[in-house]
Subunit: 351 residues, 2 copies
């Protein structure tokens, strides 16, 4: 069966429901049972390079050998009052970004974190290992600064310039020019630029510790969760399912850089038939070969999982008459309409 | 009048109220009118060093010149349903830490952020500029990595090893040994270590951009706020008051590294008579000369402000029979009891 056909069947009802909802942000009070934050895992290491300048006036206070923690993962959470037996949802951000991705939109509208909580879902939002409130490992920077290690040992850390993000995230065909139908709040692009934080993922050990930490979170802490990954973390829900299938009640894969279709073995695909999978891409895929390749790879992956007896769905809003969505679809102007589509899929396939 | 006498008068009623409250964490639902996050300020700069390795396979995608944003300040917030006309409270974290300081305690109890919201206060929690979700400036690291700048241009970034934090934060007299009466949840010291994130403050321009951003937050966004600073940010509330007195409805100065008493001019002190000021220190001050010096300087500052006609109070819990509090008193076992003392001071002096 072609993906489009499977999609049309699975989402006929969802589409009707979603278009009926005007997707205005709810304004009634948000009632929270419990909220806070915690860290998953992390490694205590001994270092003499917690500080980088032995001649600094504060060195007497701060430059001492000792133990620091690296590779821990920060998680913020809210459990709504009426969560009942709803499965927790873990919202994982992409490259150069942090959990802020789901907290708000650049133009200050409601993010998916709050919206999912308002739909009675317990919501967990990590900062990936080595990003934002998860900190990062300073040892190599300080060792180089002190002349103890060569410059080549400096970590590879990057931020996406606005010019790169604009086209890579498909706000428009070239920097400063949005697609006529873009759903991204391009008037707030400067605010989006502030959400971009340095990304050390290319310097992390393999496999990325975030994946193991997500498995621990979903297994030990949450006793089963729906994992939603985006872009850089798009395949993390599948990676976690391959570590502990029981812990992943649903895998939502949004705008990944491909679906590893040429990498997954048949045995892995067979494992992945045990978890409901939703893959989602925004619009204007065909305008960028990079994204068309990613989309095609995921389309083939969906087919392959279903051919093996699994339950995978490709959700491509243009097929529903919803146009102009970007890579940052959780921040697009119709972000709550898209959230409703995901919630409907959860209701029909997970709960 | 001696500080102790002023304190005794101001807090007689507060003490009675605070000791009557058992300070058990409230368990009723938290009702939120509005929540989210935003960024204050930030500077768009052009760089060719957003990526640090032109030979990397991903360089074709990521290594492009362009504009990035630096020195922005992340702020998360919650406005409770019954906030009414309560003045917003801004909770500012200290060195090597982030807003997580106020979100939770290392042993997973309720933090001041939620507790203040449960007392109907709009609460705003920033990550200082160049810390955690505020990101940091990668340009120098990448320029050094690419051989374009000397190693000495690397930023000075540090984390406090557990061994340094233990005594500097007065958990006990030496690493691993707590004071017999310590209120810090030392059994969760490993979790506290995970909250420690790299700190670039020693590499920031002077004055620290966080101070100006806090002034902008308190002035333009909040139209007046109570600022609470801790340790590294302890004096930020006073710094902001000296920028715009009208914006600071109350200045709460917790465990600063001294009170700049030898720095402030008489004119500055005269300005500071226009804002209610609360200075707060934990216990075991006399065990560390560094802290005794800081305490004495603040004690003299309180005296000086009051002699000039101001309203400054030194809150030292041991004077109330509350012993064993540490530098991290917002995370100590009696953190909600201490929050009640602060709330009482706010009610009596600000609102």
């Amino acid at each position: 069966m072609k993906t489009e056909c499977r999609f049309a069947m699975a989402f006929a009802m969802a589409f009707a429901a979603a278009t009926a909802v005007a997707a205005d942000a709810p304004t009634d009070p948000l009632v929270i049972k419990e909220q806070g934050s915690f860290f998953v895992d992390g490694e205590s290491v001994f270092t003499e390079n917690a500080f980088g300048d032995p001649s600094h006036p504060l060195a007497a206070l701060l430059d001492a050998p000792g133990h620091i923690t690296v590779n821990q993962m920060y998680v913020e959470y809210q459990i709504p009052q009426d969560a009942g037996r709803h499965v927790p949802v873990v919202l994982i951000h992409g490259g150069d970004l942090s959990g802020v991705t789901y907290e708000t939109t650049p133009d200050g509208r409601m993010g998916w974190e709050e919206y999912f909580a308002r739909q009675d879902r317990p919501v967990y939002v990590p900062d990936q290992v080595s990003r934002a409130r998860s900190g990062f490992d300073v040892r190599a920077i300080n060792a180089v600064k002190k002349g103890l290690q060569p410059v080549s040992d400096l970590p590879l850390v990057f931020v996406a310039p606005d010019e790169v993000a604009w086209t890579l995230f498909r706000f428009g065909p070239e920097f400063g020019t949005p697609f006529a139908d873009t759903k991204f709040p391009v008037e707030a692009a400067d605010e989006f630029s502030k959400q971009v934080v340095p990304d050390f993922n290319l310097s992390l050990p393999e496999p990325n510790p975030t994946i193991g930490h997500l498995a621990e979170l979903a297994t030990d802490k949450l006793k089963g969760a729906i994992l939603l990954g985006h872009s850089q973390s798009g395949l993390f829900p599948l990676d976690v399912a391959l570590i502990n299938l029981d812990a992943v009640k649903g895998a939502i894969v949004i705008e990944p850089g491909g679906c590893n279709n040429s990498v997954y073995t048949d045995q892995q695909i067979n494992t992945l038939t045990g978890v409901p999978i939703l893959v989602m891409f925004g619009d204007h895929i065909a305008d960028f070969s990079f994204w068309q390749d990613n989309f095609n790879d995921c389309d083939a992956f969906v087919q392959r999982v279903n051919d093996a007896g699994g339950n995978a769905t490709m959700l491509h809003p243009p097929d529903l008459g919803i146009f102009g969505n970007t890579h940052m679809l959780m921040q697009d102007e119709n972000n709550l309409q898209l959230a409703d589509l995901i919630l409907k899929w959860i209701d029909q396939n997970v709960e």
